[in-house]
């Protein structure tokens, strides 16, 4: 299991290893077929969630794919590893609400005064998924992940619109949490488990960690010519 969070100053060990795998020296010593196979095998091994239960994970995979579906524009959440990203985030300081002010009392007020629930992201997912699964079973007699796309879309639309309540948490709050984390997983550096193959960045024409545009400040409306590169040196 790779470490969950990079330290402040060093990249993830996993990314460091990946970087090595891609380097010329390793390539020459071990030969092309070996490392390519190793990488391919690693990619094929399904990710084992550590925070979500298998059932919860199935929900996250299905719901995020609906929010960010595979289509003519490119890969969807499933192909990009968004559920893995979210699972890993739940184990990070963020999942524990490390920089949220969480002192009582928790008083509810107008929406524009911001989030006022006593729950951190981990709680929101556990309660939100349980609530939405109960709602889905009651409405359709099965689990969210087993519904067809149109039915899933209908449920998510209701959730977004605020007409579904999930026990302790308003449906809309859970929807926004899920939507935000989905977009993060699609577009964050692959260091965090999402944006697999830099597929999110390729769709947008975003060059990732290049961060040097001295020669490209103004090309009079031409597209930037280079593809993306990640922090670990992965290219697409």
């Amino acid at each position: 299991m790779p470490p969950k969070e990079p330290t402040l100053t060093r990249p993830l060990r996993r990314s460091f290893v990946k970087g090595l795998l891609g380097s010329t020296s390793f390539w020459m010593v071990s030969g092309h077929s070996h490392w390519a196979e190793a990488l391919a095998q690693e990619a094929q091994k399904p990710y084992q969630p550590t925070f979500f239960t298998p059932e919860e994970y199935r929900f996250v995979e299905a719901a995020t794919e609906r929010l960010f579906p595979q289509d003519q524009h490119g890969p969807g959440a499933r192909g990009l590893g968004v559920a893995e990203f979210i699972d890993r985030q739940m184990e990070s300081p963020y999942g524990h609400g490390d920089n949220w002010y969480m002192s009582a009392p928790f008083v509810q007020g107008p929406a524009n005064l911001g989030y006022q629930l006593p729950f951190v992201p981990r709680d929101l997912y556990q309660k939100g998924i349980a609530g939405l699964e109960a709602y889905t079973r009651q409405q359709h007699g099965k689990s969210f992940a087993d519904l067809r796309a149109p039915a899933q879309e209908q449920i998510l639309t209701a959730l977004e619109g605020g007409s579904v309540s999930l026990g302790d948490i308003p449906g809309r709050v859970f929807f926004e949490q899920l939507r935000t984390n989905t977009m993060e997983g699609a577009f964050a550096d692959p260091l965090y488990g999402g944006n697999k193959g830099l597929g999110g960045w390729l769709m947008l024409g975003f060059p990732g960690a290049r961060a040097d545009f001295m020669d490209w400040v103004n090309q009079d409306g031409e597209a930037y010519p280079f593809g993306p590169i990640s922090i670990s040196g992965e290219t697409a």
């Binding site: 402040l8 990249p11 911001g114 490209w216």
Partner: protein, 592 residues
């Protein structure tokens, strides 16, 4: 207390604190600077490639204030219960050595000369009756001519790139025709226009406006400042706003001031030191020092000094004044007291313009301070008579580097899908082919908009949180709507295929969930009358004369410009008068 620990204590290690510490050590004083956050150095926080990480940077907000320790409460009106600001969103205060100066963007303005005397200017042109009921419109009590040398000094320290209009009365370049006169040019030549900026420049000219390059504290060339601190040229990396600059190209206290200060034996910096209050003597008119919490050990420590500088950022300064009993807390009902009065912010709305799909706007290329603006509708540069509002707003393209997570979260809404396949298509189109245009305007002060202590919630140290009572008012909403309507001809001249012009709506309350700016102001303002200002024109407390309070807290109104250039100039202005007058004979620099 028996022994004095230092001549001066400086609270907060941002721009304001670093400038004061530098000036006071130059004057021969021993200085202790206390910073609640941790030590920060560009070599660590800015290291490539780890710093080029949107998730860890602007999304998880690793460089900003950790709200779990302390935050504020917010309400819109006096009759509401204020609720805690639990998640960073609308504004992003800094923390750690360098403060927000480590991760700001670098738009480095002076001030519109008329904004310093806005009340006088409005009254001269339109009469007293033009000022709406309940608006606390005030002058700063200092003129542009008085501040000019200090703006000039700050630009040289920051290594600011720009193009001037007038130097010593002579037109020298294609700069902002509405600018005040300058004694010298910018220290560095202007930064290049991104494609979006040059498109805006051409279109604004065609629309009959007067575009100019934003002054940017992003270095267009290698530079060594008067303190011997070095900067490298900016490469438009796009990881600017919210990030530490890996190329040492964006001015920060860490790069431009602290390297010199740290070599001075009279200077001591203590990080992880959260100041709890300024200690006053029995007269309540003199500070004896400060009490701080060593956050790693949770030990409370008292330090004594002759002079205390509060430079902890706008609202933290006001918070510390209220916790310490410096000045009389403002009461909106009786309209008395000054600490917390004239709390102001800024109006900002971001519009979007789409170009034909043959044009790629490459929005990821950019630098925080770079762009093209017009001032035709800012300050007193246009006739307010028939419009009936006070204030104004520059309009600009300021492409600081748009990254994909922010773009993805922000796309959709207002009737367009926020997820699903249609959303994906819109996101890709918007990311590749659109231009963002902001109206970044003033915000006036009102009698019932203010800061005080919250009755319910406390910080991790057991002290009451600061409470903000703030909302948008009709005057500012109408100003924003008027200026946004002026973007339309620019969009047309750009050959836009589509435009989404966003403005504030009548009755719309301030919303803490969406980023505005971190350009909060007022609450302990400067002025000429101790009844309506907490500080005199040298930013000295009227009530406790050995306390100076440096920051945008001094602004009586929120201005259309970004504040830091003005904060730095006020810091040098106050320091100059401390050095030349106060230290020779400590006491009030202005008799109340």
């Amino acid at each position: 207390m028996t022994k004095k620990h230092a001549d001066a204590i400086v609270v907060g290690a941002g721009w304001a604190g670093s400038i004061l510490a530098k000036e006071l050590t130059e004057a021969g004083l021993s200085v202790i600077m206390l910073e609640r956050g941790s030590e920060r150095a560009t070599a660590v926080e800015g290291a490539y490639p780890e710093s080029i990480d949107e998730l860890r940077g602007a999304i998880r907000k690793r460089l900003f204030q950790n709200l779990s320790q302390t935050t504020v409460t917010v309400r819109n009106t006096i009759d509401q219960t204020a609720l805690p600001y639990r998640q960073l969103a609308a504004f992003l205060p800094g923390e750690g050595v360098g403060g927000a100066g480590l991760h700001w963007s670098g738009v480095h303005f002076r001030v519109s000369p008329e904004d310093l005397r806005l009340r006088s200017s409005v009254v001269e042109r339109y009469g007293e009756k033009f000022i709406p009921e309940g608006m606390n419109l005030q002058d700063y009590g200092v003129t542009y001519a008085e501040l000019e040398p200090f703006f000039d000094k700050a630009e040289k320290v920051f290594g600011t790139s720009g193009e001037a209009y007038k130097v010593n009365g002579k037109i020298v370049g294609n700069g902002n025709i509405f600018d005040g006169d300058r004694s010298d040019n910018f220290p560095l030549p202007v930064m290049k226009d991104t494609f979006t900026a040059s498109t805006f420049r051409a279109a604004a000219t065609e629309a009959g406006y007067h575009p100019y390059s934003l002054p940017a504290a992003n270095a267009s060339r290698q530079y060594t400042n008067p303190y011997g601190c070095q900067m490298g040229p900016c490469n438009f990396c796009g990881y600017c706003s919210g990030y530490d600059c890996y190329l040492y190209s964006k001015a920060s206290p860490n790069v431009n001031v602290l390297p010199a200060l740290r070599q001075d034996p009279r200077f001591t910096l203590i990080s992880d030191a959260h100041v709890l209050r300024v200690d006053l003597d029995d007269t309540r008119a003199k500070a004896t020092g400060v009490a701080y919490l060593e956050t790693k050990t949770q030990k409370e420590i008292s330090l004594s000094a002759d002079l205390v500088i509060l430079s902890a950022f706008q609202f933290h300064n006001v918070h510390l004044m209220l916790l310490s009993g410096i000045g009389k807390p403002y009461d909106p009902v009786s309209n008395t007291g000054t600490t917390g009065r004239n709390f102001v912010y800024q109006t900002i709305t971001s519009s979007r313009i789409w170009l034909p799909s043959s044009k790629y706007t490459n929005q990821f290329i950019g630098a925080g301070g770079v762009g093209v603006a017009i001032d035709d509708f800012n300050s007193m540069n246009f006739d307010h008579g028939p419009l009936g509002f006070v204030g104004g707003s520059p309009v600009w393209v300021n492409q600081a580097g748009v990254k994909p997570i922010a773009a993805a979260i922000g796309t959709g809404g207002g009737g367009t899908p926020r997820w699903g396949s249609a959303y994906k298509g819109a996101l890709i189109d918007t990311y590749k082919h659109s231009i963002g245009v902001d109206a970044h305007g003033s915000n006036m002060a009102y009698r019932d908009v203010y800061l005080d202590l919250d009755p319910t919630w406390k910080d991790a140290y057991g002290q009451p949180l600061l409470r903000m009572t703030f909302t948008w008012k009709d005057n500012d909403i109408r100003m924003n709507q008027y200026v946004v309507s002026k973007i339309e001809p620019i969009a047309r001249a750009m050959g836009a295929t589509k435009a989404n012009l966003v403005h504030l709506n009548a009755g719309q309350p301030f919303d803490t969930r969406h980023y505005q700016t971190t350009h909060l102001g007022g609450g302990a303002i400067m002025g000429t009358d101790p009844k309506t200002s907490a500080l005199n024109r040298y930013l000295q407390s009227w009530d406790v004369s050995n306390v100076f309070v440096i920051g945008s807290n001094a602004f009586p109104q929120g201005m259309g410009y970004n504040p830091t250039g003005m904060v730095a100039a006020l810091a040098y202005w106050a320091a100059y008068h401390i050095r030349t007058t106060y230290l020779k004979s400590p006491g009030p620099l202005v008799q109340a």
